[in-house]
Symmetry: C2
Subunit: 385 residues, 2 copies
């Protein structure tokens, strides 16, 4: 018997207390019983985003919040710059294109992220962009982008352009201060760092973004953020929201607040570092040149198919994610985003050692877990915790 263990970058595992909260009797969204839950949920989201702005709730997948961001940041005939370095960066381009907008890609190879000079050059060629669309953690490649530094470049080179951040697999995992980093739109979803089931997406806009949104003329109804804002101000949502998931998110956010957001970020950094060390000790190779603390992409060993590795891990109760786009069949991805602790990293490395050995890949039993454990304890010693 193996327990089921989810190591995918969304859905991610959900704490039992959150699951049980979602099973409580459904409340009506326009009555007091729900408004109390929603008000606390909203306060805690402000803490999570590190913003004084309202964080609006959409009943949708994260992609719905991406579309809402485009619909409010852009207007007909406007031009956008977006970073294209993986499947989720490409999605910005697809949404912009679906609305007939001019979308200029800043392309870098998969597994890499643009640096400040590349963004400067792109803005020099296109100083008239209305918004710059970034991906804080590009999940398809397990790659992190320095949103803070890139945002500064936008402020210097295109002062009126909005900085729009896909934080879907980053918020709650990677350091992010929406207000003090001067980000204009940040989005995320419930089934990632928030540690709740999928079904909710979140979006916050800076004052600059709200101002620009008022000029937008793109058609929308369900994703109209002015309707969402008006409802937010009276304590609810314009359409019936996923009330049971909102109750679950409140419970999950209470846990994050109790641990402390900076401690949560540190935990993600520590787990990612320990996992990567274990993988390298087994002779595996990381696919990203700037690994994200949310997800690690690993090259499949030569000659090993994704399906056989997946089946071998499944036999040990482990679910990881396959590669996407051009990396399909070339990488597998292990997530450490959300509800994970050090012992989960030891467990996944142990399962991987075993599965790889079954498939004929040479690993000395214990070499991965020992290195993972060493790094976990070393980080402990360094931080004195």
């Amino acid at each position: 018997m193996y327990k089921m263990r989810l190591f995918t970058p969304g859905p991610t595992p959900v704490p039992e207390s959150v699951l049980l909260t979602t099973a409580q009797p459904v409340k009506h969204h326009r009555h007091r019983e729900f408004r109390e839950i929603f008000a606390e949920h909203n306060r805690l989201l402000g803490y999570l985003f590190q913003t004084e702005q309202p964080v609006l709730t959409l009943t949708a997948s994260g992609t719905g919040a991406m579309e809402a961001a485009v619909l409010h940041a852009m207007r007909r005939g406007a031009k956008a710059l977006y970073v294209e370095a993986g499947k989720f960066g490409q999605r910005w381009g697809e949404i912009l294109c679906a609305y007939g907008l001019e979308a200029v890609p800043l392309s870098v190879p998969w597994g890499e992220a643009p640096d400040e000079a590349q963004l400067e050059a792109a803005l020099c060629a296109h100083p008239d962009v209305r918004a710059v669309f970034l991906t804080h953690s590009e999940t398809s490649t397990g790659t992190w982008m320095d949103v803070r530094a890139l945002s500064r470049v936008v402020r210097q080179r295109a002062p009126d352009a909005l900085v729009v951040v896909d934080g879907i697999t980053a918020v709650g995992a990677l350091e992010l201060y929406m207000d003090s980093w001067d980000l204009d739109i940040v989005i995320t979803a419930s089934q990632k760092g928030i540690m709740a089931p999928p079904g909710l997406a979140y979006i916050a806009l800076s004052e600059r973004a709200w101002k620009q949104a008022r000029e937008s003329d793109l058609p929308r109804y369900y994703f109209d953020l002015f309707a969402a804002l008006a409802a937010y101000e009276r304590g609810d949502t314009p359409w019936t929201p996923a009330v049971s998931l909102i109750a679950g998110v409140r419970e999950a956010l209470r846990r994050i607040a109790e641990e402390g957001l900076e401690q949560v970020w540190d935990r993600h950094a520590r787990l990612a570092r320990a996992l990567r060390a274990g993988l390298l000790a087994m002779g595996l190779k990381l696919a990203s040149r700037r690994p994200s603390n949310a997800t690690t992409a690993v090259w499949l060993p030569e000659g090993m198919g994704w399906e056989s590795l997946n089946e071998a891990l499944k036999r040990r109760g482990i679910t990881v994610a396959e590669g996407q786009g051009p990396w399909k069949g070339r990488v597998f991805r292990i997530s450490h985003l959300g509800y994970y602790d050090p012992l989960d990293m030891v467990a996944v490395v142990a399962a991987l050692e075993d599965a790889l050995r079954e498939l004929g890949y040479p690993v000395e039993p214990g070499v991965g877990v020992a290195e993972t454990q060493r790094v976990l304890l070393q980080v402990d010693m360094e931080t004195g915790s």
Copy 2:
């Protein structure tokens, strides 16, 4: 101590077995463990809609499915006819308008529904409409529309026009055979007749509707039903869906299939009839001239405010819905949509008798519940059950 009892037209009460199913560990939507659940969920949705067409799953509120219907039924420059007889009929008009489409209202007073002659006249004046948007159960007024008869009128008078049905508070409550009634688009949501928490919306298109949708040129991304259809055919959804709610809906649909869909419709008819009889026996007056078996709207007694009635009912654990739009402060609405049995009707009438008496409205104790009970038993005798 009073138990909490929800009598609102969405969210509606959710069976305990469904709630507990939603609390099971989250599964990854692209893995076998979820695909099995999704396949059965999809088969059962076909039974619920009485269609051979795919019923597509959107992670959204019902309004999202309304927008998806507009985006695929219409195209730029096209004209639509919609029935405007309450808040949800108006919403069709609002969505059409948000996309710059010509939207012709067929308006009837709140609490009424158009008959075949009225629709014929409207189509005679506007034979060139691309689609006719109906509301099977107009929840704001508790009014039922004869979708089957109206659909026949469309087929005769405007053979190429699509019949689009908002079945959000009707599917699973009112008789509906999508295929044999030749309906083109039917939508619903999870938190209504389906008896699950809010967060999912459903939409099915006839062959005629799919054909017309291929010509549509309205911008869309998250609500692109061609992306949803392609994913459906390989067993999943284009974006991460609310997997825990889908598991809950499967459990709820199993219950509906076990009871039998026609028995479910009959139950709704019987409960609605018994409730209305109890209300009339108390001297209350129904606000709709064609009461829906999903929700009953009742005029507030003269001089009685919504807030005081609401508070008096809350003290007895009962949540009902207030009026909307022009009926705000004039009606209250009791829902019997989804997970209700005969004893729930007796209970809500008993609470209402008690609350009304507290507020000084003259009711003989027992007069309402006795009449409700008489009708429940009479229907039993008539049907021989």
